[in-house]
Symmetry: C2
Subunit: 218 residues, 2 copies
DNA sequence: CCCTAAAATTGAACGTGTTCAAGAAAAGTA
DNA sequence: TACTTTTCTTGAACACGTTCAATTTTAGGG
């Protein structure tokens, strides 16, 4: 019975994510989820092996939302600055409803054993999807980024995105405006910094940086 | 009765930290700590309000160890490259015994509500102590760093140290050699990068970067 | 329709971190 | 010494995430 089963699974996920949003991670107990969904605790565990797995469900949903919003916003942005801003801001938009839950989310995600961990060995599907957003942001940007760092740029920018996310978690300003300002201020710095890559003195250091960066990831 | 009390507190801390090292964070239950220390569970809670507080105890101890080792190593290092390497490597030395526990530690520390959180609002004593190590590493370095970013340098380097720590947590190579190589490779890049600060095209971007960095922290 | 295997569901049970009323021990006071 | 107050200690109890043997429900074939 696949249809009813899928319904139950979806019900659990929906109830859990709604409760995450409305009352936070800690107060959303597995018992409360089950009660709200009208099923038994064990049944929730039949579909999600752990509470962390529900966090992964959330992660996937936020990411899909990010991809959709970014694709839309990137239509109107041609240069790298605009495209990067669009990518980062839509990312923040997608996370926004879960801000109060950010601390618990990041604590779950950062654990090396977590299925949600973005730095996990190998490339998890979730991380790959997130990287793809940055790849399309960079690839279609005109003017093109300096050739020598073009292949590494998406991954480096994705890393910046992780840093922004961390900042966002700690940002208690109204609507997380500080993070918005950080993005607006940092992105032009990044793109202007990239143009320095062609300067003679900078080039050698950049080569060494890229070589180190590759050896670390390889 | 202050002496006996202090003994009990110290006993709990010692037992807990030893168990963290030997069997990891998860297996070190509060009941196991109490049993090993020969006291009741409630009594352990009289001295440490939570298991996270024991993590803070560990954090303080590792930091004191770092400060001591760094002070020693900095005696033999004059230039910034050497001093930075010494500071980072002694930091890794101090953490080394707890590597298996790194994932749990960082998950605890990153939570905004955690007493151990290094990014916590205001300057926690722990963070200030860690920052001081970087301040002395920078201040006494010859030749001096470019004037315009000298005041911000310790904090920026401390941030790099946090990044290195994160890398270290995920580093499963024998003895975390990869992190050691990262330090040895990245530090010369940083110091060489600093000397670029005086180049005309770079200067303006750097100014903007520093201004953004200050507005974010202020 | 009935029977069997698989899928789905239940709820009690386990070990965990944490709390707290109660009591024991120590310190202070006379 | 006898008392009060403060400090320290206990162990049972609570809610939590998680597990699992048992049970019910469904799917598929005769």
């Amino acid at each position: 019975m696949t249809v009813k089963s899928e319904q139950t699974r979806q019900l659990v996920a929906d109830v859990a994510l709604r409760m995450f949003r409305e009352i936070g991670f800690a107060k959303t107990t597995m018992r409360a989820i089950a009660a709200e969904a009208g099923i038994s605790v064990g049944n929730a565990y039949y579909y999600f092996a752990s509470k962390d797995d529900l966090v992964q469900e959330l992660y996937l949903q936020v990411q899909a939302e990010h991809a959709a919003r970014a694709a839309e916003a990137l239509k109107d942005a041609a240069d790298l600055t605009g495209r990067l801003k669009a990518t980062l801001h839509t990312g923040l938009d997608a996370m926004a409803p879960y801000h109060r839950f950010g601390g618990d989310f990041i604590a779950t995600a950062i654990r090396p054993t977590s299925p949600v961990n973005p730095f996990a060995a190998g490339s998890s599907a979730a991380r790959e999807a997130s990287l793809t957003i940055f790849r399309t942001a960079v690839e279609a940007a005109k003017p093109l980024a300096p050739k020598k760092l073009r292949p590494d740029l998406p991954e480096l920018l994705w890393l910046c995105y992780m840093a922004v996310t961390l900042f966002w978690v700690y940002d208690t300003s109204e609507g997380q405006q500080r993070t918005r300002r950080l993005v607006d201020g940092a992105v032009p710095l990044i793109t202007r910094g990239l143009s320095l890559a062609r300067m003679p003195g900078v080039g050698r250091i950049l080569d060494d940086f890229l070589s180190l960066s590759r050896s670390i990831r390889g």
